[in-house]
């Protein structure tokens, strides 16, 4: 079934409201895993798919009619749960207009743990790029419009006001331990964008990023040069836990790299000086047992996002305006999407009736050869007026139903009734 206009749009997934971090980190898909996952779901009957996977959500956007695609998604995610629990217990499905509205809310940060955070905009773009080959025309249009909606809402409302991101929350948490951050030493583990963003935020507060450690030395060196720090490999980093004030961890490792065994003895050499460890990675980089060490303050991404969420009070005031834009843009998209299916059918319907009318009028006029030309024209006009009157209400109802997301049933009925 490749006629996407006859299919619905669905989103099947989990997010920070429905699934805990432990589950979300299992469901997270790296960019290299996206094509394979989408291929499996599309094999179940989807005509297009985009996989959006961030630390807060894993969502499959699909163009599909059959509910079996949702089962395919739950099956795929469920394989990542060791406990044998059903993935659907952690998730949700939104359909058609609700799915469109959901993506617009996601891209504008309305659905984020940190209201209005801007990072999601880039993540939506990346997801679209990564799924480009499998997205199909409807999802291409949808994601394109989602980016437009996100940008529009950030421009026209105060939804992005302030610095309520996880990176700025990292600064706030470190500030609650050290007070003045100027002159504090920071060690960065991992060389991803998140680590660099948080490090930049810390550096803006006067923190001296002295060391950047990464599995690959080259990548560490690239970031270290930008931050004026020294590059290390991960194994060289552990002794520096004795001296640094802030350790910022954001590696792409699939398991904890900062463990009690690696840093426990080193941290005891600090003689009680506080150490703030900010674990921005999903899956987490730091073994939670490390937090039990004296004067070690460990925060993971959920903690930081909780802190950041508290800074969103002002952003909440912008929510009604942002929601209005989402609604307006959803209507626009749905009008387009509904039009994809309705316009050709209406055209065909009208041309079929027009052909019938023309044939019947011509046949009638053949028997009315005695009529003067003005009367013949009047008959022609009468038939056209009747046809327009008859077609007006069904056309309006069909367009309205399409805009409301109820057009498919009517279209199907029309096709059957008139043999379109």
């Amino acid at each position: 079934m490749n006629d996407t206009t006859a299919m619905g749009i669905k989103v099947v997934g989990v997010n920070h409201r429905t699934a805990p971090l432990e589950v979300r980190e299992r469901f997270a898909h790296g960019a290299h895993e996206v094509p394979g996952a989408l291929a499996r779901v599309m094999a179940a009957g989807a005509a297009g798919g985009v996989l959006l996977s961030t630390c807060n959500r894993t969502e499959f956007y699909l163009v599909a009619e059959d509910e079996a695609v949702a089962d395919a998604v739950w099956g795929l995610l469920g394989e990542r749960l060791e406990s044998g629990a059903a993935a659907r217990e952690y998730g949700y499905i939104a359909r058609d207009r609700d799915a469109v509205r959901h993506l617009y809310r996601v891209s504008s940060g309305l659905d984020s743990m940190i209201l209005g955070e801007s990072q999601i905009q880039g993540q939506v773009r990346d997801a679209w790029e990564a799924s480009r080959a499998q997205a199909g025309p409807v999802l291409h249009r949808l994601f394109q419009s989602a980016l437009h909606v996100g940008a529009r809402i950030r421009t026209e409302t105060a939804i992005g006001a302030g610095t309520a991101s996880a990176a700025s929350a990292a600064v706030a948490v470190a500030g609650k331990i050290f007070g003045d951050l100027a002159g504090r030493a920071a060690l960065i583990l991992g060389a991803g964008d998140m680590a660099e963003l948080a490090a930049t935020c810390l550096a803006a507060e006067g923190v001296q990023v002295t060391l950047v450690a990464n599995r690959t030395h080259e990548r560490a060196r690239a970031i270290a040069e930008r931050l004026g720090a020294r590059a290390l490999t991960l194994d060289e980093a552990w002794p520096h836990f004795a001296t640094t004030d802030i350790a910022l961890c954001s590696t792409a490792a699939p398991h904890a790299v900062v463990t009690w065994e690696r840093v426990g003895a080193v941290i005891r050499k600090r003689r009680g000086r506080p150490l703030c460890i900010l674990d921005l990675a999903v899956p987490r980089d730091v073994d939670p047992a490390v937090a039990q060490l004296e004067n070690v303050f460990l925060y993971d991404i959920d903690d930081l996002q909780t802190v950041a969420a508290q800074a969103t009070a002002r952003r909440h005031e912008a929510v009604p305006a942002a929601e209005r834009i989402v609604q307006e843009e959803t209507d626009l998209f749905w009008a387009w999407y509904g039009g994809l299916a309705v316009v050709p059918v209406i055209k065909e319907f009208r041309s079929r009736i027009e052909a019938l009318r023309a044939a019947e009028v011509e046949r009638a006029l053949r028997h009315l050869g005695h009529l003067p030309p003005e009367d013949r024209a009047r008959v022609e006009q009468l038939s056209q007026a009747l046809m327009n009157k008859f077609l007006h209400q069904p056309t309006v109802a069909l367009k309205a139903a399409a805009e409301e997301g109820r057009g498919y049933g009517l279209l199907e009925a029309l096709r059957r009734l008139f043999g379109l």
Binding site: K176, G179, G272, P274, V307, Q310
Partner: protein, 264 residues
């Protein structure tokens, strides 16, 4: 006049305390300027009132202790933006002024000129020493609460309203290190005053023993802080132990000798 000024000061302290505590109960935080201006105005009236007291007896001492606490609260706000200190000093100062009013405040006879300086210095240093130790205690308590919240990754009101750990540690250190010598000097001046003007010491053996014990506990708290370089949680516990010793010994002596009016 003294009563009126004290009542006005009490009203201003009470209002400032209510405003300071508003965010604790989930209400909107008042402007910072207001939470500073109100105790400032109260302290100004309080200074005028205290200047008219003879500083003899418990009620004037309590009034002066309250004034010192408010002044230290304002200094904390200025130095470490420690507005949370006011959560404790505000009610404490208001309570002490209220207690002083209940006990009875009245202008007394002027001490002789020779005794005046000794006496004022003794009272001022002792009371300021106690107020500083109370501030150290409050900073230590705030530190431990904030530490517990940060360690437990709870980001509620304590996290939001309390100052950062290192600032509280710094406040605790300054208050303890300044409070101990101030109190010691105040006690030494009292001894000198007693020998020179009162014909010798008129204190019981228990007061001397327990006074020395308290001094030793406070001295230990300062020693571990300054010499052993304790900081953070251990220093906070030491500081709390020191001030608790002061309070417990005072209460024990008061209960054992109900008629005694000596401050320690």
């Amino acid at each position: 006049m003294i009563l009126t000024l004290h009542l006005l000061a009490l009203a201003l302290y009470g209002l400032a305390t209510a405003l300071t505590l508003a965010p604790v109960v989930g209400l909107r935080a008042p402007p910072r300027a207001l939470t500073i201006a109100l105790p400032c105005a109260g302290a100004a009236l309080h200074v005028v009132a205290v200047s008219q007291l003879t500083l003899v007896g418990l009620a004037p001492a309590l009034s002066m202790l309250a004034l010192c606490l408010v002044l230290l609260q304002l200094a904390s706000e200025r130095l470490v933006r420690g507005s949370a200190v006011g959560f404790f000093t505000g009610p404490l100062a208001a309570g002490l002024v209220g207690l002083a009013l209940l006990i009875g405040l009245a202008p007394g006879a002027e001490p002789s000129a020779g005794r005046n300086v000794w006496f004022i210095l003794h009272v001022a240093l002792s009371v300021m020493g106690l107020a500083l130790l109370a501030l150290a205690f409050i900073a230590a308590a705030l530190y431990l609460l904030q530490f517990r919240e940060l360690k437990a990754r709870r980001f509620g009101r304590v996290f939001q309203l309390f100052p950062p750990l290192e600032r509280l540690d710094q406040l605790n250190r300054v208050a303890l290190v300044a409070g101990f010598p101030a109190l010691t000097l105040g006690v030494l001046l009292a001894l000198g005053y007693a020998v020179r003007f009162a014909g010798g010491l008129h204190v019981g053996k228990a007061q001397i023993v327990w006074g020395m014990f308290t001094w030793a506990v406070l001295g230990w708290a300062v020693w571990v802080r300054v010499v052993r370089r304790w900081d953070g949680r251990r220093a906070a516990f030491a500081s709390i132990a020191g001030f608790s010793a002061v309070l417990l010994v005072y209460l024990a002596l008061k209960l054992a000798q109900p008629g005694a009016e000596r401050f320690l």
